[in-house]
Subunit: 285 residues, 2 copies
Amino acid sequence: MDEATAFVPGHVTAFFSAHRDDDPTKAGSRGGGLALSDGVRVTVSRADERGDAGADADPGLYLDDDAIEMDSVARVLQALRVENARIEATTPLPLGSGFGVSGATALGTALAAGQVYERPLSEAELVTIAHGAEVQAGTGLGDVVAQARGGVPLRLEPGAPAHGRMDAIPSGPRRVEYLALGQLSTEAVLSGDTDQLSAAGERAVSTVAGEPTMGTFMEAARRFAREAGLLTDELRAVVTDVSDAGGDASMAMLGETVFALDTGLSDAGYDPAVCEVHRAGAVLE
Amino acid sequence: MDEATAFVPGHVTAFFSAHRDDDPTKAGSRGGGLALSDGVRVTVSRADERGDAGADADPGLYLDDDAIEMDSVARVLQALRVENARIEATTPLPLGSGFGVSGATALGTALAAGQVYERPLSEAELVTIAHGAEVQAGTGLGDVVAQARGGVPLRLEPGAPAHGRMDAIPSGPRRVEYLALGQLSTEAVLSGDTDQLSAAGERAVSTVAGEPTMGTFMEAARRFAREAGLLTDELRAVVTDVSDAGGDASMAMLGETVFALDTGLSDAGYDPAVCEVHRAGAVLE
Protein backbone atom coordinates (compact mmCIF):
# COMPACT_ATOMS: atom_id res chain seq x y z
CA MET A 1 0.00 0.00 0.00
CA ASP A 2 1.48 3.37 -1.03
CA GLU A 3 -0.86 5.51 1.00
CA ALA A 4 -3.33 5.25 3.87
CA THR A 5 -5.63 7.73 5.60
CA ALA A 6 -6.93 7.79 9.15
CA PHE A 7 -9.54 10.02 10.74
CA VAL A 8 -9.07 10.88 14.41
CA PRO A 9 -11.75 12.84 16.29
CA GLY A 10 -10.82 16.02 18.12
CA HIS A 11 -11.08 15.86 21.89
CA VAL A 12 -11.74 18.46 24.56
CA THR A 13 -10.86 17.45 28.09
CA ALA A 14 -13.35 18.81 30.62
CA PHE A 15 -11.49 17.79 33.79
CA PHE A 16 -8.36 15.79 34.56
CA SER A 17 -5.63 14.88 37.02
CA ALA A 18 -2.03 14.50 35.86
CA HIS A 19 -0.06 11.31 36.58
CA ARG A 20 3.64 11.30 35.95
CA ASP A 21 5.68 8.15 35.48
CA ASP A 22 9.11 7.43 34.02
CA ASP A 23 7.43 4.85 31.81
CA PRO A 24 5.46 6.88 29.20
CA THR A 25 2.97 4.04 28.78
CA LYS A 26 2.09 4.36 32.47
CA ALA A 27 2.10 8.16 32.58
CA GLY A 28 -1.10 9.93 31.63
CA SER A 29 -4.22 11.35 33.17
CA ARG A 30 -7.52 10.49 34.70
CA GLY A 31 -10.28 12.64 33.30
CA GLY A 32 -13.29 13.08 31.11
CA GLY A 33 -13.96 14.80 27.81
CA LEU A 34 -15.84 14.88 24.54
CA ALA A 35 -14.63 13.35 21.28
CA LEU A 36 -15.57 15.72 18.46
CA SER A 37 -16.65 15.14 14.87
CA ASP A 38 -14.27 17.99 13.99
CA GLY A 39 -11.00 16.09 13.98
CA VAL A 40 -7.79 15.49 12.08
CA ARG A 41 -7.55 13.53 8.83
CA VAL A 42 -4.04 12.17 8.32
CA THR A 43 -2.71 10.71 5.08
CA VAL A 44 0.64 8.95 5.12
CA SER A 45 2.44 8.13 1.90
CA ARG A 46 5.88 6.89 0.92
CA ALA A 47 7.65 10.03 -0.23
CA ASP A 48 10.61 8.00 -1.43
CA GLU A 49 8.48 6.11 -3.96
CA ARG A 50 6.77 9.04 -5.60
CA GLY A 51 9.72 9.50 -7.94
CA ASP A 52 9.42 12.66 -9.98
CA ALA A 53 5.97 13.64 -8.75
CA GLY A 54 7.35 17.07 -7.96
CA ALA A 55 6.84 19.15 -4.83
CA ASP A 56 4.22 16.75 -3.45
CA ALA A 57 6.92 14.13 -3.07
CA ASP A 58 8.75 15.89 -0.24
CA PRO A 59 8.79 14.00 3.04
CA GLY A 60 7.76 15.72 6.26
CA LEU A 61 4.60 16.78 8.06
CA TYR A 62 2.13 19.21 6.51
CA LEU A 63 -0.80 20.63 8.47
CA ASP A 64 -3.37 22.18 6.15
CA ASP A 65 -0.60 22.39 3.51
CA ASP A 66 1.91 24.18 5.73
CA ALA A 67 5.11 22.32 6.62
CA ILE A 68 5.33 22.08 10.40
CA GLU A 69 7.17 20.12 13.07
CA MET A 70 5.38 18.12 15.75
CA ASP A 71 7.52 16.30 18.25
CA SER A 72 4.74 13.76 18.91
CA VAL A 73 4.63 12.81 15.23
CA ALA A 74 8.41 12.62 14.91
CA ARG A 75 8.46 10.22 17.86
CA VAL A 76 5.74 8.02 16.34
CA LEU A 77 7.70 7.73 13.09
CA GLN A 78 10.85 6.90 15.02
CA ALA A 79 9.06 4.19 17.05
CA LEU A 80 7.73 2.66 13.82
CA ARG A 81 11.15 2.94 12.16
CA VAL A 82 9.63 4.92 9.30
CA GLU A 83 11.74 7.27 7.22
CA ASN A 84 10.91 9.47 4.28
CA ALA A 85 7.19 9.44 4.86
CA ARG A 86 5.04 12.33 3.72
CA ILE A 87 2.29 13.12 6.23
CA GLU A 88 -0.56 15.37 5.21
CA ALA A 89 -2.91 16.40 8.00
CA THR A 90 -6.01 18.52 7.59
CA THR A 91 -8.27 19.85 10.33
CA PRO A 92 -10.82 22.58 11.01
CA LEU A 93 -9.52 22.73 14.61
CA PRO A 94 -7.04 25.35 15.83
CA LEU A 95 -3.69 24.22 17.28
CA GLY A 96 -2.84 24.84 20.92
CA SER A 97 -6.43 25.50 21.92
CA GLY A 98 -7.29 22.30 23.77
CA PHE A 99 -8.66 20.14 20.94
CA GLY A 100 -5.99 17.45 21.02
CA VAL A 101 -4.68 18.23 17.53
CA SER A 102 -1.16 17.01 18.32
CA GLY A 103 -2.49 13.79 19.85
CA ALA A 104 -4.83 13.24 16.91
CA THR A 105 -2.05 13.82 14.39
CA ALA A 106 0.22 11.41 16.27
CA LEU A 107 -2.48 8.73 16.44
CA GLY A 108 -3.52 9.20 12.82
CA THR A 109 0.12 8.94 11.78
CA ALA A 110 0.56 5.72 13.77
CA LEU A 111 -2.56 4.09 12.29
CA ALA A 112 -1.88 5.13 8.70
CA ALA A 113 1.89 4.51 8.77
CA GLY A 114 1.24 1.07 10.27
CA GLN A 115 -0.76 0.23 7.13
CA VAL A 116 1.59 1.79 4.58
CA TYR A 117 4.73 0.26 6.08
CA GLU A 118 2.94 -3.01 6.99
CA ARG A 119 3.92 -3.02 10.62
CA PRO A 120 2.36 -6.10 12.29
CA LEU A 121 1.02 -4.12 15.25
CA SER A 122 -2.41 -4.23 16.86
CA GLU A 123 -4.64 -1.21 17.45
CA ALA A 124 -3.65 -1.12 21.12
CA GLU A 125 0.04 -1.21 20.18
CA LEU A 126 -0.37 1.70 17.76
CA VAL A 127 -2.36 3.66 20.36
CA THR A 128 0.39 2.94 22.88
CA ILE A 129 3.04 4.29 20.51
CA ALA A 130 1.05 7.48 19.90
CA HIS A 131 0.25 7.93 23.61
CA GLY A 132 3.90 7.46 24.59
CA ALA A 133 5.03 9.89 21.88
CA GLU A 134 2.54 12.53 23.07
CA VAL A 135 3.56 12.11 26.72
CA GLN A 136 7.26 12.33 25.88
CA ALA A 137 6.66 15.39 23.71
CA GLY A 138 4.92 16.98 26.71
CA THR A 139 1.94 18.04 24.60
CA GLY A 140 -0.75 15.87 26.17
CA LEU A 141 -1.54 13.19 28.72
CA GLY A 142 -4.86 11.69 27.76
CA ASP A 143 -6.12 12.86 24.38
CA VAL A 144 -4.76 9.88 22.45
CA VAL A 145 -6.55 7.15 24.41
CA ALA A 146 -9.74 9.24 24.44
CA GLN A 147 -9.52 9.79 20.67
CA ALA A 148 -8.96 6.07 20.11
CA ARG A 149 -12.23 5.33 21.92
CA GLY A 150 -14.54 8.19 20.87
CA GLY A 151 -17.83 9.27 22.42
CA VAL A 152 -17.73 10.84 25.88
CA PRO A 153 -14.67 9.01 27.23
CA LEU A 154 -13.80 8.72 30.90
CA ARG A 155 -10.19 7.93 31.71
CA LEU A 156 -10.56 6.02 34.97
CA GLU A 157 -6.91 4.97 35.21
CA PRO A 158 -4.04 6.76 33.46
CA GLY A 159 -1.84 5.39 30.73
CA ALA A 160 -1.77 3.49 27.46
CA PRO A 161 -4.19 0.56 26.94
CA ALA A 162 -2.10 -2.02 28.85
CA HIS A 163 -2.14 0.13 32.01
CA GLY A 164 -5.04 2.57 31.68
CA ARG A 165 -8.73 1.91 32.09
CA MET A 166 -11.44 3.64 30.10
CA ASP A 167 -15.18 3.88 30.27
CA ALA A 168 -17.63 6.33 28.70
CA ILE A 169 -20.91 8.11 29.26
CA PRO A 170 -23.55 6.75 26.86
CA SER A 171 -24.49 9.49 24.39
CA GLY A 172 -26.71 9.73 21.36
CA PRO A 173 -26.06 12.35 18.67
CA ARG A 174 -25.33 15.59 20.48
CA ARG A 175 -24.45 19.00 19.12
CA VAL A 176 -21.29 20.62 20.49
CA GLU A 177 -20.39 24.29 20.00
CA TYR A 178 -16.97 25.81 20.63
CA LEU A 179 -15.29 29.17 20.68
CA ALA A 180 -11.49 29.33 20.61
CA LEU A 181 -10.36 32.61 22.18
CA GLY A 182 -6.64 31.98 22.21
CA GLN A 183 -3.84 29.56 22.92
CA LEU A 184 -2.60 28.06 26.14
CA SER A 185 0.57 25.98 26.34
CA THR A 186 -0.13 22.47 27.60
CA GLU A 187 3.60 22.10 28.25
CA ALA A 188 3.71 25.25 30.39
CA VAL A 189 0.73 24.23 32.53
CA LEU A 190 1.82 20.63 32.93
CA SER A 191 5.39 21.52 33.82
CA GLY A 192 4.17 23.74 36.69
CA ASP A 193 2.62 22.76 40.02
CA THR A 194 -0.41 20.61 39.22
CA ASP A 195 -1.30 19.43 42.74
CA GLN A 196 -4.39 21.60 43.19
CA LEU A 197 -5.53 20.89 39.65
CA SER A 198 -5.06 17.14 40.07
CA ALA A 199 -6.92 17.04 43.37
CA ALA A 200 -9.88 18.80 41.73
CA GLY A 201 -9.60 16.43 38.78
CA GLU A 202 -9.69 13.33 40.98
CA ARG A 203 -12.87 14.61 42.63
CA ALA A 204 -14.48 15.28 39.25
CA VAL A 205 -13.63 11.81 37.87
CA SER A 206 -14.95 10.15 40.99
CA THR A 207 -18.22 12.13 40.87
CA VAL A 208 -18.84 11.43 37.18
CA ALA A 209 -17.86 7.74 37.43
CA GLY A 210 -20.47 7.41 40.18
CA GLU A 211 -23.19 8.99 38.06
CA PRO A 212 -22.18 8.86 34.40
CA THR A 213 -24.71 11.25 32.90
CA MET A 214 -24.17 14.34 30.73
CA GLY A 215 -25.69 16.57 33.40
CA THR A 216 -23.22 15.40 36.05
CA PHE A 217 -20.40 15.64 33.52
CA MET A 218 -21.02 19.31 32.70
CA GLU A 219 -21.50 20.22 36.35
CA ALA A 220 -18.19 18.54 37.23
CA ALA A 221 -16.55 20.31 34.27
CA ARG A 222 -17.58 23.75 35.50
CA ARG A 223 -16.55 23.05 39.07
CA PHE A 224 -13.16 21.76 37.86
CA ALA A 225 -12.56 24.83 35.70
CA ARG A 226 -13.15 27.04 38.74
CA GLU A 227 -11.08 24.94 41.13
CA ALA A 228 -8.14 24.34 38.78
CA GLY A 229 -7.49 28.08 38.61
CA LEU A 230 -7.10 28.18 34.84
CA LEU A 231 -10.13 30.34 33.95
CA THR A 232 -9.19 33.72 32.50
CA ASP A 233 -11.62 36.59 32.94
CA GLU A 234 -12.67 36.30 29.33
CA LEU A 235 -13.36 32.55 29.59
CA ARG A 236 -15.30 33.08 32.80
CA ALA A 237 -17.45 35.76 31.16
CA VAL A 238 -18.37 33.52 28.23
CA VAL A 239 -19.21 30.54 30.46
CA THR A 240 -21.37 32.81 32.62
CA ASP A 241 -23.16 34.21 29.56
CA VAL A 242 -24.02 30.68 28.45
CA SER A 243 -25.30 29.78 31.93
CA ASP A 244 -27.37 32.96 32.03
CA ALA A 245 -28.94 31.97 28.72
CA GLY A 246 -29.87 28.59 30.24
CA GLY A 247 -27.07 26.58 28.60
CA ASP A 248 -24.23 24.35 29.66
CA ALA A 249 -20.63 25.39 28.92
CA SER A 250 -17.14 24.95 30.30
CA MET A 251 -13.47 25.35 29.42
CA ALA A 252 -11.46 22.99 27.19
CA MET A 253 -8.36 21.74 29.01
CA LEU A 254 -5.86 23.01 28.01
CA GLY A 255 -6.80 25.88 25.77
CA GLU A 256 -8.40 29.29 26.00
CA THR A 257 -11.52 27.69 24.60
CA VAL A 258 -15.15 27.44 25.69
CA PHE A 259 -17.23 24.43 24.64
CA ALA A 260 -20.96 24.05 25.13
CA LEU A 261 -23.55 21.35 24.61
CA ASP A 262 -26.41 21.83 22.15
CA THR A 263 -26.91 25.51 21.21
CA GLY A 264 -25.42 26.92 24.43
CA LEU A 265 -23.05 29.42 22.83
CA SER A 266 -25.38 30.46 19.99
CA ASP A 267 -28.22 31.03 22.44
CA ALA A 268 -25.93 33.36 24.39
CA GLY A 269 -25.32 35.41 21.26
CA TYR A 270 -21.90 34.06 20.24
CA ASP A 271 -20.92 32.80 16.81
CA PRO A 272 -19.31 29.45 17.64
CA ALA A 273 -17.98 26.61 15.49
CA VAL A 274 -20.44 23.72 15.47
CA CYS A 275 -19.80 19.99 15.43
CA GLU A 276 -21.07 17.01 17.38
CA VAL A 277 -19.99 14.30 19.78
CA HIS A 278 -18.13 11.76 17.62
CA ARG A 279 -19.38 8.44 18.90
CA ALA A 280 -16.72 6.33 17.15
CA GLY A 281 -13.01 6.27 17.83
CA ALA A 282 -10.16 6.82 15.38
CA VAL A 283 -10.46 4.77 12.16
CA LEU A 284 -8.56 3.99 9.01
CA GLU A 285 -10.55 5.28 6.06
CA MET B 1 -37.10 10.58 26.51
CA ASP B 2 -39.91 8.34 25.23
CA GLU B 3 -37.85 6.41 22.74
CA ALA B 4 -34.21 5.69 21.89
CA THR B 5 -32.50 3.71 19.14
CA ALA B 6 -29.17 1.92 19.12
CA PHE B 7 -27.29 0.30 16.25
CA VAL B 8 -25.17 -2.73 17.07
CA PRO B 9 -22.95 -4.30 14.42
CA GLY B 10 -23.28 -7.99 13.62
CA HIS B 11 -20.28 -10.13 14.58
CA VAL B 12 -18.88 -13.36 13.22
CA THR B 13 -16.42 -15.15 15.45
CA ALA B 14 -13.61 -16.79 13.49
CA PHE B 15 -11.98 -18.69 16.37
CA PHE B 16 -12.51 -18.91 20.11
CA SER B 17 -11.95 -20.75 23.36
CA ALA B 18 -14.75 -21.08 25.93
CA HIS B 19 -14.21 -19.97 29.53
CA ARG B 20 -16.81 -20.90 32.11
CA ASP B 21 -17.20 -19.15 35.43
CA ASP B 22 -20.00 -18.96 37.97
CA ASP B 23 -19.74 -15.18 37.73
CA PRO B 24 -21.25 -14.29 34.32
CA THR B 25 -19.10 -11.15 34.14
CA LYS B 26 -15.99 -13.35 34.30
CA ALA B 27 -17.28 -16.07 31.97
CA GLY B 28 -16.76 -15.56 28.27
CA SER B 29 -14.34 -16.41 25.53
CA ARG B 30 -11.01 -15.58 24.06
CA GLY B 31 -11.20 -15.23 20.30
CA GLY B 32 -11.24 -13.10 17.21
CA GLY B 33 -13.89 -12.04 14.74
CA LEU B 34 -15.24 -9.38 12.42
CA ALA B 35 -17.79 -6.72 13.36
CA LEU B 36 -20.18 -6.30 10.41
CA SER B 37 -21.99 -3.28 8.99
CA ASP B 38 -25.02 -5.58 8.73
CA GLY B 39 -26.24 -5.42 12.32
CA VAL B 40 -29.27 -4.97 14.53
CA ARG B 41 -31.09 -1.67 15.01
CA VAL B 42 -33.01 -1.67 18.30
CA THR B 43 -35.64 0.89 19.31
CA VAL B 44 -36.90 0.89 22.87
CA SER B 45 -40.03 2.82 23.83
CA ARG B 46 -42.28 3.08 26.85
CA ALA B 47 -45.25 0.94 25.88
CA ASP B 48 -47.13 2.04 28.98
CA GLU B 49 -47.06 5.68 27.90
CA ARG B 50 -48.32 5.25 24.38
CA GLY B 51 -51.90 5.30 25.64
CA ASP B 52 -54.37 4.48 22.90
CA ALA B 53 -51.80 4.25 20.11
CA GLY B 54 -53.28 0.85 19.19
CA ALA B 55 -51.38 -2.34 18.38
CA ASP B 56 -48.03 -0.54 18.35
CA ALA B 57 -48.38 0.09 22.06
CA ASP B 58 -47.98 -3.56 23.10
CA PRO B 59 -44.92 -4.26 25.19
CA GLY B 60 -42.58 -7.08 24.24
CA LEU B 61 -39.80 -7.81 21.75
CA TYR B 62 -40.41 -7.67 18.01
CA LEU B 63 -37.78 -8.83 15.52
CA ASP B 64 -38.55 -7.54 12.03
CA ASP B 65 -42.17 -7.05 13.19
CA ASP B 66 -42.63 -10.58 14.55
CA ALA B 67 -43.15 -10.97 18.29
CA ILE B 68 -40.40 -13.22 19.65
CA GLU B 69 -38.80 -14.15 22.95
CA MET B 70 -35.07 -13.78 23.60
CA ASP B 71 -33.84 -14.82 26.99
CA SER B 72 -30.84 -12.45 26.70
CA VAL B 73 -33.15 -9.46 26.18
CA ALA B 74 -35.51 -10.48 29.00
CA ARG B 75 -32.50 -10.66 31.33
CA VAL B 76 -31.26 -7.21 30.28
CA LEU B 77 -34.67 -5.68 31.01
CA GLN B 78 -34.77 -7.44 34.37
CA ALA B 79 -31.29 -6.16 35.29
CA LEU B 80 -32.35 -2.61 34.37
CA ARG B 81 -35.66 -3.00 36.27
CA VAL B 82 -37.56 -2.08 33.12
CA GLU B 83 -41.16 -3.19 32.65
CA ASN B 84 -43.64 -2.61 29.87
CA ALA B 85 -41.04 -1.61 27.31
CA ARG B 86 -41.66 -2.16 23.62
CA ILE B 87 -38.52 -3.29 21.82
CA GLU B 88 -38.44 -3.21 18.04
CA ALA B 89 -35.39 -4.82 16.44
CA THR B 90 -34.68 -4.95 12.73
CA THR B 91 -31.84 -6.76 11.00
CA PRO B 92 -30.85 -8.18 7.63
CA LEU B 93 -29.00 -10.97 9.47
CA PRO B 94 -30.45 -14.46 10.01
CA LEU B 95 -30.90 -15.75 13.58
CA GLY B 96 -28.95 -18.77 14.81
CA SER B 97 -26.38 -18.54 12.04
CA GLY B 98 -23.38 -17.14 13.88
CA PHE B 99 -23.92 -13.39 13.45
CA GLY B 100 -24.43 -12.52 17.10
CA VAL B 101 -28.04 -11.36 16.61
CA SER B 102 -29.05 -12.26 20.17
CA GLY B 103 -26.00 -10.48 21.62
CA ALA B 104 -26.62 -7.44 19.43
CA THR B 105 -30.28 -7.28 20.42
CA ALA B 106 -29.35 -7.57 24.10
CA LEU B 107 -26.71 -4.84 23.82
CA GLY B 108 -28.94 -2.55 21.76
CA THR B 109 -31.71 -3.02 24.31
CA ALA B 110 -29.34 -2.17 27.18
CA LEU B 111 -28.05 1.01 25.47
CA ALA B 112 -31.45 2.27 24.35
CA ALA B 113 -33.35 1.32 27.52
CA GLY B 114 -30.65 3.01 29.59
CA GLN B 115 -31.49 6.27 27.78
CA VAL B 116 -35.30 5.92 27.84
CA TYR B 117 -35.44 4.96 31.50
CA GLU B 118 -32.59 7.31 32.46
CA ARG B 119 -30.47 4.73 34.20
CA PRO B 120 -27.24 6.40 35.40
CA LEU B 121 -25.01 3.66 34.01
CA SER B 122 -21.80 3.94 32.01
CA GLU B 123 -21.16 2.27 28.66
CA ALA B 124 -19.07 -0.43 30.36
CA GLU B 125 -21.85 -1.09 32.86
CA LEU B 126 -24.44 -1.48 30.08
CA VAL B 127 -22.08 -3.74 28.13
CA THR B 128 -21.55 -5.79 31.29
CA ILE B 129 -25.31 -6.22 31.75
CA ALA B 130 -25.74 -7.35 28.15
CA HIS B 131 -22.72 -9.67 28.31
CA GLY B 132 -23.93 -11.27 31.54
CA ALA B 133 -27.43 -11.69 30.11
CA GLU B 134 -26.07 -13.37 26.98
CA VAL B 135 -23.82 -15.71 28.99
CA GLN B 136 -26.65 -16.69 31.34
CA ALA B 137 -29.00 -17.25 28.42
CA GLY B 138 -26.35 -19.60 26.98
CA THR B 139 -26.57 -17.96 23.57
CA GLY B 140 -23.09 -16.47 23.36
CA LEU B 141 -19.80 -15.89 25.14
CA GLY B 142 -18.07 -13.07 23.35
CA ASP B 143 -20.25 -11.34 20.77
CA VAL B 144 -21.39 -8.54 23.08
CA VAL B 145 -17.94 -7.21 24.00
CA ALA B 146 -16.83 -7.54 20.36
CA GLN B 147 -19.92 -5.66 19.14
CA ALA B 148 -19.32 -2.93 21.71
CA ARG B 149 -15.85 -2.38 20.25
CA GLY B 150 -16.32 -2.91 16.48
CA GLY B 151 -13.65 -3.46 13.85
CA VAL B 152 -11.73 -6.72 13.90
CA PRO B 153 -11.84 -7.37 17.65
CA LEU B 154 -9.54 -9.75 19.47
CA ARG B 155 -10.74 -10.97 22.85
CA LEU B 156 -7.46 -11.54 24.65
CA GLU B 157 -9.00 -12.24 28.07
CA PRO B 158 -12.58 -13.44 28.60
CA GLY B 159 -15.39 -11.58 30.30
CA ALA B 160 -17.13 -8.24 30.61
CA PRO B 161 -15.07 -5.01 30.52
CA ALA B 162 -13.96 -5.14 34.18
CA HIS B 163 -12.39 -8.57 33.68
CA GLY B 164 -11.83 -9.04 29.95
CA ARG B 165 -9.17 -7.53 27.75
CA MET B 166 -9.68 -6.53 24.14
CA ASP B 167 -7.49 -5.48 21.28
CA ALA B 168 -8.11 -5.33 17.54
CA ILE B 169 -6.42 -5.76 14.18
CA PRO B 170 -6.20 -2.39 12.42
CA SER B 171 -8.43 -2.44 9.35
CA GLY B 172 -9.48 0.06 6.75
CA PRO B 173 -12.76 -0.32 4.87
CA ARG B 174 -13.02 -3.98 3.88
CA ARG B 175 -15.75 -5.84 2.05
CA VAL B 176 -17.14 -8.95 3.72
CA GLU B 177 -19.33 -11.53 1.99
CA TYR B 178 -21.35 -14.20 3.73
CA LEU B 179 -23.51 -17.18 2.91
CA ALA B 180 -25.80 -18.61 5.57
CA LEU B 181 -26.46 -22.28 4.81
CA GLY B 182 -28.38 -23.16 7.95
CA GLN B 183 -28.59 -22.93 11.70
CA LEU B 184 -26.39 -24.34 14.44
CA SER B 185 -27.34 -24.14 18.11
CA THR B 186 -24.76 -22.22 20.12
CA GLU B 187 -26.30 -23.69 23.27
CA ALA B 188 -25.92 -27.26 21.99
CA VAL B 189 -22.26 -26.82 21.01
CA LEU B 190 -21.28 -24.92 24.15
CA SER B 191 -23.03 -27.38 26.48
CA GLY B 192 -21.00 -30.28 25.00
CA ASP B 193 -17.30 -31.09 25.39
CA THR B 194 -15.39 -28.01 24.26
CA ASP B 195 -11.86 -29.05 25.30
CA GLN B 196 -10.54 -29.74 21.80
CA LEU B 197 -12.22 -26.63 20.43
CA SER B 198 -10.84 -24.44 23.20
CA ALA B 199 -7.30 -25.76 22.82
CA ALA B 200 -7.44 -24.92 19.11
CA GLY B 201 -8.94 -21.52 19.97
CA GLU B 202 -6.15 -20.68 22.42
CA ARG B 203 -3.55 -21.48 19.74
CA ALA B 204 -5.36 -19.27 17.22
CA VAL B 205 -5.62 -16.28 19.61
CA SER B 206 -1.98 -16.58 20.53
CA THR B 207 -0.89 -16.74 16.87
CA VAL B 208 -2.98 -13.73 15.83
CA ALA B 209 -2.06 -11.65 18.90
CA GLY B 210 1.59 -12.19 17.94
CA GLU B 211 1.03 -11.03 14.37
CA PRO B 212 -2.18 -9.00 14.20
CA THR B 213 -2.70 -8.86 10.44
CA MET B 214 -5.71 -9.86 8.34
CA GLY B 215 -3.66 -12.54 6.57
CA THR B 216 -2.71 -14.24 9.83
CA PHE B 217 -6.30 -13.84 11.07
CA MET B 218 -7.85 -15.68 8.11
CA GLU B 219 -5.21 -18.40 8.19
CA ALA B 220 -5.87 -18.96 11.92
CA ALA B 221 -9.62 -18.94 11.23
CA ARG B 222 -9.35 -21.73 8.66
CA ARG B 223 -7.08 -23.83 10.84
CA PHE B 224 -9.44 -23.39 13.81
CA ALA B 225 -12.47 -24.41 11.74
CA ARG B 226 -10.70 -27.65 10.78
CA GLU B 227 -9.38 -28.40 14.27
CA ALA B 228 -12.58 -27.57 16.16
CA GLY B 229 -14.42 -30.32 14.27
CA LEU B 230 -17.44 -28.17 13.46
CA LEU B 231 -17.13 -28.04 9.65
CA THR B 232 -19.95 -29.85 7.84
CA ASP B 233 -19.24 -31.30 4.38
CA GLU B 234 -21.19 -28.47 2.79
CA LEU B 235 -19.27 -25.75 4.68
CA ARG B 236 -15.99 -27.42 3.81
CA ALA B 237 -16.91 -27.53 0.12
CA VAL B 238 -17.74 -23.80 0.01
CA VAL B 239 -14.55 -22.79 1.86
CA THR B 240 -12.53 -24.95 -0.55
CA ASP B 241 -14.25 -23.40 -3.57
CA VAL B 242 -13.30 -19.93 -2.33
CA SER B 243 -9.69 -21.00 -1.76
CA ASP B 244 -9.56 -22.56 -5.23
CA ALA B 245 -10.73 -19.24 -6.67
CA GLY B 246 -7.87 -17.48 -4.85
CA GLY B 247 -9.98 -16.08 -1.99
CA ASP B 248 -10.03 -16.19 1.78
CA ALA B 249 -13.02 -17.74 3.59
CA SER B 250 -13.85 -19.54 6.80
CA MET B 251 -16.77 -20.58 9.01
CA ALA B 252 -18.71 -18.28 11.33
CA MET B 253 -18.71 -19.62 14.90
CA LEU B 254 -21.33 -20.78 15.68
CA GLY B 255 -23.47 -21.06 12.57
CA GLU B 256 -23.61 -23.02 9.34
CA THR B 257 -22.27 -19.91 7.66
CA VAL B 258 -19.29 -19.12 5.45
CA PHE B 259 -17.78 -15.63 5.49
CA ALA B 260 -15.13 -14.32 3.12
CA LEU B 261 -13.07 -11.19 2.76
CA ASP B 262 -13.42 -9.01 -0.33
CA THR B 263 -15.11 -10.80 -3.23
CA GLY B 264 -14.12 -14.31 -2.14
CA LEU B 265 -17.56 -15.93 -2.38
CA SER B 266 -18.67 -14.04 -5.52
CA ASP B 267 -15.43 -14.96 -7.27
CA ALA B 268 -16.13 -18.61 -6.50
CA GLY B 269 -19.54 -18.34 -8.18
CA TYR B 270 -21.77 -17.98 -5.12
CA ASP B 271 -24.41 -15.32 -4.54
CA PRO B 272 -23.52 -14.05 -1.07
CA ALA B 273 -24.86 -11.23 1.06
CA VAL B 274 -22.42 -8.29 1.05
CA CYS B 275 -21.50 -5.89 3.84
CA GLU B 276 -18.26 -4.58 5.27
CA VAL B 277 -16.17 -4.54 8.40
CA HIS B 278 -17.91 -2.10 10.74
CA ARG B 279 -15.06 -0.12 12.25
CA ALA B 280 -17.13 1.49 15.01
CA GLY B 281 -18.74 -0.22 17.97
CA ALA B 282 -22.38 -0.10 19.06
CA VAL B 283 -23.84 3.43 19.23
CA LEU B 284 -26.98 5.26 20.24
CA GLU B 285 -28.48 6.87 17.15
